[in-house]
Symmetry: C2
Subunit: 352 residues, 2 copies
Amino acid sequence: MAKRGSTDRGFTARLDLRNGAVEMGHGAGGRAMAQLIDELFQRHLDNPLLRQHNDQALFTPPPGRLVISTDGHVITPLFFPGGDIGSLAVHGTINDVAMAGARPLYLAAGFVLEEGFPLADLDRLVASMAAASRSAGVPIVTGDTKVVERGKGDGCFITTTGLGVVPDGVAISGDQARPGDAVLVSGSLGDHGVAILSQREGLGFATEIRSDSAALHDLVAAMVAAVPGIHCLRDPTRGGLATTLNELARQSGVGMRLREAAIPIQPAVAAACELLGLDPLYVANEGKLVAICAADDADILLAAMRAHPLGAQAARIGEVVADPHRFVQMETRFGGQRIVDWLAGEPLPRIC
Amino acid sequence: MAKRGSTDRGFTARLDLRNGAVEMGHGAGGRAMAQLIDELFQRHLDNPLLRQHNDQALFTPPPGRLVISTDGHVITPLFFPGGDIGSLAVHGTINDVAMAGARPLYLAAGFVLEEGFPLADLDRLVASMAAASRSAGVPIVTGDTKVVERGKGDGCFITTTGLGVVPDGVAISGDQARPGDAVLVSGSLGDHGVAILSQREGLGFATEIRSDSAALHDLVAAMVAAVPGIHCLRDPTRGGLATTLNELARQSGVGMRLREAAIPIQPAVAAACELLGLDPLYVANEGKLVAICAADDADILLAAMRAHPLGAQAARIGEVVADPHRFVQMETRFGGQRIVDWLAGEPLPRIC
């Protein structure tokens, strides 16, 4: 009798990408995993570094400082208006790298798949990753696949790690905001979170709200070219603009003062937030950034942002102030003041 | 009425690391997540790069070629004789980097936590990661935490990504095995998989079998110093020695011939495998490597391995042969021949 772990040497049929499902063997390191890699991952993601077929990718980096960033993606549903977990996992990590002012070079991707996950869905989302990666010019050069039993995961989780190179002279960091600086955003807020929540709760709004999921590195390159001395960049994902500004205020030891009327929010998103009882300032974005720069640079930076398709709706929304309490405050549309505090609780689970 | 996503500004008590549990809010990007990062992750893993507090870590790499590798860890149980998922996630990725002959520089870690996971367990395994990282001299410089609902994960998954620098003149790759080359292993096989399976199935063997989980980069550095021209290195994890040798045979377009009597296996592991119906050649290792080098270099390399604590039981177990079928064959203890094929199926799920 064959021992467990011994072999069958018979002919292996091709993966059934139409009706097949992920099996425990696809994560076992053996023949089934090699087949999944060859016929699905490698087929979509093919590039010279991935083709090295080793457990690591070898490359010679350009000269300069590098950044590394990692981000797990556990969004539900896996497919949504404007994207899916595959494109999101590419965009999200490219953006984390780009927020250092860096040019993204390479991505690595680790998958945790649930037994029974349809291979058709996996094929679709890996194709989407490949398209996002090609479109951004940032190849996925190494990866890993694990499988967990049915009921121990949720279809597909993807952790992507990105590497980028920082141009000389750029020193963007969350601790660089100074009183007097201008606070800019690249476009309308809340689109991603509202798109996910609408889909999840089966709400059919008259206007379909789409995720803003996008790779921002090209916008960042244009911004850095215009104003190499940008102080801070960050993408307001989980927790939204409010949380990101509080993070930056904490890191830099400053306060901020926003003008609500200047913050771009699509009318459909504002209406959906009203209906859902959400504050759009706390809702996640996946294709927007916050920039903080010296007041004297603000007009140049804003013009550079608006000249780029992903920054067409960019706006100057406030300023950095001296404040030992590090409060983010906002002048409301009605002329009042309110504190825009950290997100507390979890209004939107599994949003990215 | 406060909108969902708005805030409470009250005093936040410290994390309850004794009785607390992971909540959805710990992955939401807001105050609870900041607290988890400060009081748990940052406290254990503290280092200057992590202390940059940005969404990415900035560093200047040493000159030379770099490698990047990523590996998801979904092992169950999370704690086992000889390690836990924290130390394993550090060792596993250090080893994947080291198998290019590289010196590991930095790690990134992405966590997917299940709602309800005890903070005491998280604290214990992050402390273990920190200890493994410090002991290896490879800091964890950036990270990410996501939380999924109860029943949508399994306690804790960790995806680690590693970066390393390859010494000049080293060109180790799975496609470099040549007929006539020697095949070496660094020590006894099957310890990790048997340790996990014994624990999982509640088997109390007279001799406790411990995982061999260990960081191999220091052993690799000694090997590369002795024989810079090593052809292949790979750690035989999932699928064990058999699968790793088949991968290398496929990549290099060669066959291999092993001598069963030369393959080191601890008697307790051999006995446990017999009892469990496992073939130790297919059982995962987490602190062992396979090396392939020119026959003329084999004695020098073997001596260098044996001079290192993690290679004390190193052995020359066979040779590379010309074979268009790329078969791995083995001369058994009884003088017969058998094919050692790829792993088929999944005898040991969730092993790493």
